[in-house]
Amino acid sequence: MAELMSPDSRRCTYFFLYDESKVRGEGDPTREGICYFYPEETPVDKQELLCGQLAGVVQCVSELSSSPVCSLRLHRNTFAIRMRDNFFWALGCSVEVPTISICELLDQLINLFCFYNGSVRQSYQLNSRESLAARWAQYLSHLRSGSSELQHIFSCLRTIDSAKVDPLLLLKAALILQTCQRCPPVLAGCILFRGRVVSTQMSPKLTMKVMVHESETYTKAQRPNGPSTSSSFGSTVSSTAVFLTMSELQYLQSVPVDKDFSSHSTPHNDASPKKTRLSRTLSDMAFTVSDSFDPNSSWPPQKVSFSSCLSESDNLMFSPVPSQTTIATPHPPPQRLKPPSSNGKRSDEAEEESHYYSFHSEGGGDSWIHSEGDGSVFEENSHISGDGGDGDAACDRVFRFRGVESGNEESHDAHMVVRDRVGSEGAQGHKPEQEPPPHSGAFDGPEESTLIPMTLYLHRVKGLVLALLVEPHFLSDTASTEEVYYSSLASLNGLEAHLRAIFPGAPDSPDFYIFAHFDCIQSTLTTNLSGRPRGAPEHPFVRATSLLHLHFCNTETLQEAIIRSASSAVYGTRSVAQETYFQVHGGSLRNSGIPYYQDSAFSLPTKARHKLLKHGVHLF
């Protein structure tokens, strides 16, 4: 697929890791402390100059302010700085890149390293500098390349273009993940296709980390990185050791998964019945979905939030599934489509009912995710942050909403429900003003020190990869590995065939406008800009978007903005869950700059509201 590829779109100029503990005495040469320096061809004396000066000046400022420096700017470069455990990281980009995103990038980089290698200090004790340098280089190049400028602005997940994919395939992917999750050692998983997310059960940040390994195995020849699984599955399955932070793990573990159901069913089913079961499930599901949909509301194809939306929908729509399958576990989803009054639900489900009721009253397919979800999360979030803001509290709350019976839900799903419930209230009432930042970001700050070893299991079917985070003992548990492998194999093959047939899609029909819609909760981006050559007309849009995004980040109360230069006018609007940017191009924007109510720039909000409907973006 054509992509806005620019190898140095981040314009990253320097990155280095400097170990200050190696340079203590007067006579210690600075080079002793340099663990990694990018670009690697930089002359050593320049490396020493930068490391020495930056580390020194940062020390000076940190002492003056009694607080570590987090960023510094030169005339030509901006550096994000991190200091931990005597290590000193600096990531330098050109000054056009907002400082905020450089800091974010550096955190990502460090977190990536910790995810695959564990603690930095320990890694440097156990491994040679050279081998770890290769790792840094790999992570850096992964973060630097392969995404469009817009994706960099929002540091969003690269997802498949859901506009071109049959929604049923997304359902299928979500179901594969759920099936795998029933195996106890499996924590969560995601499905990736050619370096893009098809469906994920993990937080955006964790998904991003998993994708590095996937892209590595995708581009290179398969190279098992850790203890490989038994050869019985051939080279399509690999695994590698990874490290989760405490909060990441708590977040994953606290998600209610119906393990009982799974372990109960496992002994009775060998691989092949499961396979058939799964495929039958999927075909059944297809009918159900089309039946249960309001015929008037087409599934908006451009929605970004497919994964969580799907897992939600899968609860909603799969009602016949359990009853038709051999496993007759009592399963709540069937009742959910029915009016709340028609079934005897327990009283603690009342809140859910109201949610589903509002879903139906909205009647707009998945639109609720955007329309209601946005002005709303904050209310819920404020509860959560009141509880301490950690994953535990968040999930406890979620759990209370869902009730015990909603066993095999994954975390996103649960979150979406919470959001939605509040959202439906918010939509009827007024929009709350204060909006704390989405909590999902708080989970893996670079400060997390305790790292828990886990295993990343990868099952590749050509371009398609099933990546699962599993407990380390999973690999030695033959029953589990086989169960996961065989239960998903056929579905993966099928999914791969379908996705392959779609890619590469037909080029977009040219619109007379550009938009970008960012879902802050799931960290996904919808835009009609991708697939086009990175031409001149788009660039002002990207520039304006970057600028507006920065202002939205800095000013909590800012909701809408229109900015106009001599050649372009861009409209930006945001709620707590989403940011949308819109520009009409072409046409004469000639104006005197003096306020004039018939000015085309001021009709942008109305135009955006109308035009973006067909992309599944609902603006108020």
Binding site: V57, C60, S67, Q559, S565, A566, S592, G593, F602, P605
Partner: protein, 682 residues
């Protein structure tokens, strides 16, 4: 927690200003390391030691990388902004969240502007400026630094509280009839009287204006005067405000201050301002209420005139009625001359009302010559640096032979009596030997140090002529005290009946009430004419004791004020990136910002491209660096010979007002701004 530091490349502190919180922060660092019983090191030493690694690292990076630090941010949100002007490194720090990076950069540029106005072309020689900013004599140094510190504080006060210093344009009092009368008074009576007097000692009044607090009642320039730039005028207002601080809260002098001053006999000078430490401790406590404004100290005007620290650099505190030497831009037929010497007379009429006279001093021609020579040597140096040699480097303009003969003449006129001119002559002779003589090296890279040396010598001459009181003391060098008193009395007589009206008017120049009927939902607006550097805005009075604006007092008014302040900084950020129209829906408010160009006849011109500037470029405004003048020049390139005017409008509306109504309001406010009495406002 604020600090501003100027350091030389060798980490020598040339100036520092800190607020009490920062001071305490520094001292705590030393208390930890000091052993029991040991005294704390002098503050200047502590600050110098703590900042030294940063300053030295800056120098190292410039030398080896050709790049340098522009800012640091720490996790607890302390911001450090650094900027190097020639060999002086300015560092501004904020640790209390009240100032952003832009504000700090602006402060640095304003500080530099004030130093330029006070020291003129001496600032062009880092070597001389270093000596000037850090006099050997510690008492002198303390006096100078205290003066600069109080100027900086006055500026910060104004920037935080005065809308005209927020947008950096001059606000006039709207009273056309009185203004007209005053112009007539200044032209026909006052200035004529002064300029025809024999007691003026060769000085000539060029500009005269009356300030009511920070607002301009009347401004008059003689025919021979060149236009006073907005940048200079704003700086002069800061100087005047610093001399006679107007207390926003009260008009009446606080009793204890009168007691303080009553003890001072005829010999005593301006009551010394509290030391920075004491002063700051009060300012931090009363910060939100502006309580830190120095209390107005009203006393005999003659005695007040004594406060002049510039002149105290070299000589003991001068007598009363000594003018302040200021260096202002002059545009004449043959070009632009920056930093030409003037004398500034600030004559207080009543508390809050000041008459300012700017005079041309008799030796202005020397300053012009020095500037031309400096320019010639800079051009030559630049060409030699670029590798041009021989005739390529000397090809005009300026013609090097021309410069040679003029400089010969100039030195002859100066006469060798002074040490400084003798030195200049020596260096010039050496330069000529190398450049022109047959045995000399001619015009090549070897001449570069000699170009520099010549520039330093010329700056030295300039310093001697305009910064140091030289010559026999009995020859009068300024308007005589009697003449100044006469001017003061004349102005007082003229404005006596208007005094109270003016003091009230200055606080409620125009009020939102008059606009509410025509513009329902409008909360506030600021309109600026950037071509003339003037602004108009309804008063925003947020202090407890001052007169209330329509917004009332206390938190609401304070909130609106903070929104207006942040809107200005946001729109500047967008303007820097090339966006001349910005609308923002922020909370319950809807903000608009428009910048547009008109021809002189009022015809709307098409919006042009606005240059995109890096984040660390000079601040957008007119005080320290005239962004709009540059913008107008840039825009006018495409307008054949037509005079272009540039306007800005900011509005704050209630968010519930429909956008098209808001835009109609903006349109009306933009097309013509009238006072309800039909007086045009701008």
């Amino acid at each position: 927690m604020k600090c501003l530091l100027i350091a030389s490349e060798s980490a020598e502190v040339l100036f520092h200003w800190t607020d009490p919180a920062f001071l305490q922060n520094i001292q705590e660092k030393y208390e930890v390391t000091q052993e029991e019983g040991q005294r704390l090191p002098a503050f200047e030493d502590s600050i110098s030691t703590l900042f030294a690694p940063m300053i030295i690292s800056c120098t190292t990076l410039v030398d080896r990388l050709g790049d340098s630090y522009t800012s640091f941010t720490t996790e607890n949100n302390h911001i450090y902004v650094l900027h190097q002007f020639e060999e002086c490194l300015y560092i501004a720090v904020n640790g209390d969240g009240e100032e952003g990076e832009d504000d700090l950069r602006r402060k640095i540029y304003v500080m530099k502007k004030m130093i330029e106005v006070l020291f003129g072309m001496v600032t062009l020689s880092s070597n001389l400026l270093r000596k000037e900013l850090r006099p050997q004599d510690t008492q002198q140094r303390a006096r100078l630094w205290k003066h600069l510190q109080s100027l900086l504080e006055t500026y910060s006060q104004l920037r935080e509280n005065d809308q005209s210093f927020l947008v950096e344009a001059v606000e006039r009092l709207i009273h056309p009839a009185l203004c007209e009368q005053c112009i007539e008074f200044l032209e026909r009576r006052l200035v004529q009287h002064l300029n025809s007097s024999a007691e003026r000692a060769g000085e000539e009044v060029l500009h005269a204006f009356v300030l009511v607090h920070t607002k301009l009642l009347v401004f008059y320039s003689t025919r021979s005067a060149s236009k006073l730039t907005t940048s200079d005028l704003l700086t002069l207002i800061i100087l005047a405000q610093n001399m006679y601080p107007s207390n926003i809260d009260t008009d009446d002098p606080v009793p204890e201050d009168i007691e303080n001053t009553s003890s001072s006999g005829p010999e005593s000078f301006y009551t010394p301002e509290p030391s920075p430490t004491n002063r700051d401790s009060s300012s931090s406590a009363d910060k939100p209420l502006r309580g830190s404004t120095p209390v107005f100290e009203f006393m005999d005007p003659d005695i007040q005139m004594a406060e002049d620290s510039l002149q105290t650099l070299e000589v003991p505190p001068p007598g009363p009625l000594t003018p302040r030497r200021v260096f202002l831009e002059v545009s004449s037929k043959d070009g632009l001359y920056p930093m030409m010497p003037h004398s500034m007379y600030c004559l207080p009429l009543w508390p809050g009302i000041t008459l300012v006279l700017l005079t041309k001093i008799p030796t202005t021609a020397v300053a012009m010559s020095v500037y031309k020579f400096l320019e010639a040597f800079s051009t030559l140096e630049k060409r030699l640096r670029e590798g041009q040699e021989g005739s390529a480097a000397t090809r005009g303009p300026p013609n090097i032979q021309d410069v040679r003969s003029k400089l010969d003449k100039f030195i002859k006129v100066l006469g060798p009596s002074e040490v400084q001119s003798a030195q200049l002559q020596n260096v010039w002779t050496e330069f000529k030997n190398r450049a022109f003589a047959r045995g000399g090296s001619g015009f090549n890279k070897n001449l570069i140090p000699w170009c520099k040396n010549m520039k330093t010598q010329l700056c030295g001459i300039y310093r001697q002529c305009f910064l140091i009181d030289s010559g026999p003391a009995d020859i009068p060098r300024c308007l005589s005290p009697g003449l100044q008193e006469r001017a003061q009395t004349m102005a007082q007589e003229k404005l006596m009946d208007w005094k109270d009206f003016l003091l009230v008017k200055s606080k409620r120049n125009i009020t939102m009430v008059s606009y509410l009927e025509d513009f329902p939902g409008l909360i506030h607006f600021i309109r600026v004419d950037r071509s003339t550097g003037q602004m108009i805005a309804p008063s925003l009075c947020t202090t407890e004791r001052g007169p209330a604006s329509e917004l009332g007092k206390g938190p609401v008014a304070q909130f609106i004020k903070s929104k207006v302040w942040s809107l200005v900084s946001t729109t500047r950020h967008f303007l820097r990136k090339g966006y001349s129209t910005v609308t923002l829906r922020d909370g319950d408010f809807y903000f608009c910002y428009f910048l547009w160009f008109e021809s002189e006849t009022g015809y709307k011109l098409e919006a042009g491209d606005i240059p995109v500037l890096p984040d660390d470029s000079a601040p957008i405004g007119m005080l320290a660096w005239d962004y709009y003048w540059k913008l107008l020049r840039y825009y006018s390139k495409n307008q054949q010979g037509e005079m272009v005017k540039c306007y800005e409008l900011l509005t704050v509306h209630l968010g519930v007002i429909p956008t098209d109504i808001i835009l109609q309001h903006c349109r009306q406010l933009a097309s013509k701004l009238w006072e309800p009495s039909r007086n045009p406002l701008l």
